[in-house]
Symmetry: C2
Subunit: 352 residues, 2 copies
């Protein structure tokens, strides 16, 4: 792995019309780009992730892994507006004439990312992959750079439903009152499933020994867990970046005009227990893409974890990534009996 | 309807050991108690409700309605700790030696309610009915007063799951920071379903005309709706009561020892789209009661609304209440073919 801070001193105009005079983008590269530059894979991180893929997809990204660093080169760029080395929302607010956090769209992030391709000598990607907000960006990439990627893989992503917009709205209000930890805790509820919480915590008292029956403040185990997560998040993330990137998420949408531009093959992955991006929404999006002639496939990851399964269930996500990136060759007999390599038992494959 | 403020000047000991020297309980009565006192029905309100049933169950409670005020007398008591006329959490905090909001359990509330029975000359209830927290209280009543009610009807209620405890935990933290409106908005997400939000708001911009793409603060319609609800709630409810009653909810549980005490017939109603009290949990509770020999039945209300369907879907809830309270007579043929009057098509009836 190596890390580069790209400093771009050309004006960059956001979709909003605001012009940034300079831009820093932290980029992490795993594996080696070959001489022909034919083995590049672009990976988009999730809402609060960084360009260091191994910090959040360890086990998926590995030598011999589903994202095989001995064969391909994996490039991940920390988003414009995030706070892990790139120009952050706080930087943008400081430079903004109204001292406001500007709106940065998925289109802005994808376009800023593309500024690096020339530096890296990459003009084509074998695949563009992401989960959650990363999946939105992979889809935005498919729209804005229709001839650059062979394969788009968007996991647990679709335009946000009203419930998703509501969750982000409340979280930004908590952030505006300085309560980044409360925002994170609300988010965590939407990243996990009731079933997973029940299996893990149930109605057990907090493991530190406090008694939920003793005082109003006494916590059950799930409360102690959430508080721990909230405090840890407050230390590692910035208020302004949270405001900016949840808004980026809100505004992602795909119009019919967007969809007809797509030329890459698109694989959408829904997670069975996800209620932030319900699998039905992901499946419906795959059907919509197919309806416009896009070569789109739907895969379902069966998990009790909820939305976060794309990060936690590395075995299952690896299997899906392997299937999509290196489909087994179809023998004559297999194809004759109508079995596609994308239909092993563990996958509920829908429209294609 | 008439309203009474009961002032009780005898010491009342809470489960926590704290002794209250006086107690005020606001009570609303609809219909007329007959001379034999054989037509009394006790109704428990939900978390933020009042004793005025017609304010939240208009259409269910009516002359000739499912709760028929021309036949029976319906008694509802505002909870100890609530803020609609009874001794409120704020009062309790003021009188508490540590100036703390005390813990009031479902057992405390049920027992305080029972103090009124003698004044009213009621020694038996035809039914005890409640939804959500009201359902928890109806079940607690079944445990603590096993021979007083013929029928217990608990709608969308069960001991809270880890996800429910998590939601209340985060809400109380918001309240502790003075953000009662944020707590209410989080709660609303759990009272409604993703499907209902999507049908009602989708990705529409706020109806006041503001542009969600213009600024970070620009809202979608669902955001405007939630803010309106949050502001209205802040005006009508007290912080301390919210802390106290969500804790009451958290602590409600049913041990095996509790369940074996129950002698009333129990009808549990799950709501198909409820994710705060998932129908599977309500159904499992009915099975557990049956396992201990309780005459328990499960009914399912089919609705897209989510938890709040017990308040909004008055037609469906009325049908279920009528079925339970006045089951049609079973003819020999009907019972012979094994069709119970509780199994019309709209009801998915489980264990009984």
């Amino acid at each position: 792995m190596f890390e580069i801070d790209f400093l771009i001193n050309e004006p960059f105009e956001l979709e909003s019309g605001e012009v940034l005079t300079e831009l820093k983008l932290r980029t992490t590269i795993y594996g080696k780009l070959n001489a022909e530059r034919s083995n590049a894979v672009l990976v988009f991180h999730a809402l609060t992730g960084s360009s260091r893929i191994h910090d959040w997809w360890n086990g998926v990204l590995a030598e011999g892994g589903a994202l095989d660093t001995s064969a391909d080169a994996f490039i991940c760029v920390n988003y414009l507006g995030s706070c892990y080395g790139s120009t952050s929302a706080k930087d943008l607010k400081r430079r903004n004439s109204r001292r406001e956090v500007p709106i940065v769209t998925t289109r802005d992030i994808v376009r800023s990312t593309s500024l690096l391709f020339e530096y890296l000598g990459v003009h084509r990607f074998k695949a563009v992959i992401g989960g959650s907000v990363g999946g939105m960006l992979a889809l935005q990439f498919a729209v804005d750079f229709p001839t650059v990627a062979d394969e788009i893989i968007a996991i647990a992503a679709a335009p946000l439903s009203a419930m998703g917009l509501a969750l982000n709205h409340i979280q930004r209000q908590a952030v505006a009152r300085g309560d980044l930890d409360i925002a994170r805790k609300i988010a965590l509820l939407s990243y996990r499933s009731p079933r997973q919480f029940e299996d893990r915590f149930g109605r057990k008292p907090n493991r530190n020994g406090e008694d939920p029956k003793g005082t109003i403040q006494g916590r059950f185990d799930v409360g102690g867990y959430l508080d721990h997560q909230g405090a840890a998040f407050r230390k590692r993330f910035e208020l302004e970046s949270y405001e900016l990137l949840t808004k980026t998420m809100d505004l992602f949408d795909l119009s019919d005009e967007d969809i007809v531009k797509i030329r890459s093959r698109v694989s959408l992955v829904g997670i069975s227990s996800d209620w932030l991006f319900p699998p039905a929404d992901v499946r419906a999006l795959a059907a919509r893409l197919s309806g416009f002639g896009v070569d789109a496939r739907y895969h379902e990851l069966l998990s009790d974890v909820g939305h976060d399964a794309f990060l936690t269930d590395t075995g299952e996500i690896s299997e899906i990534l392997r299937e999509v990136l290196s489909p087994p060759e179809i023998t004559y007999e297999e194809s004759e009996i109508g079995r596609s390599p994308l239909e092993p038992e563990r996958l509920a494959v829908g429209c294609s």
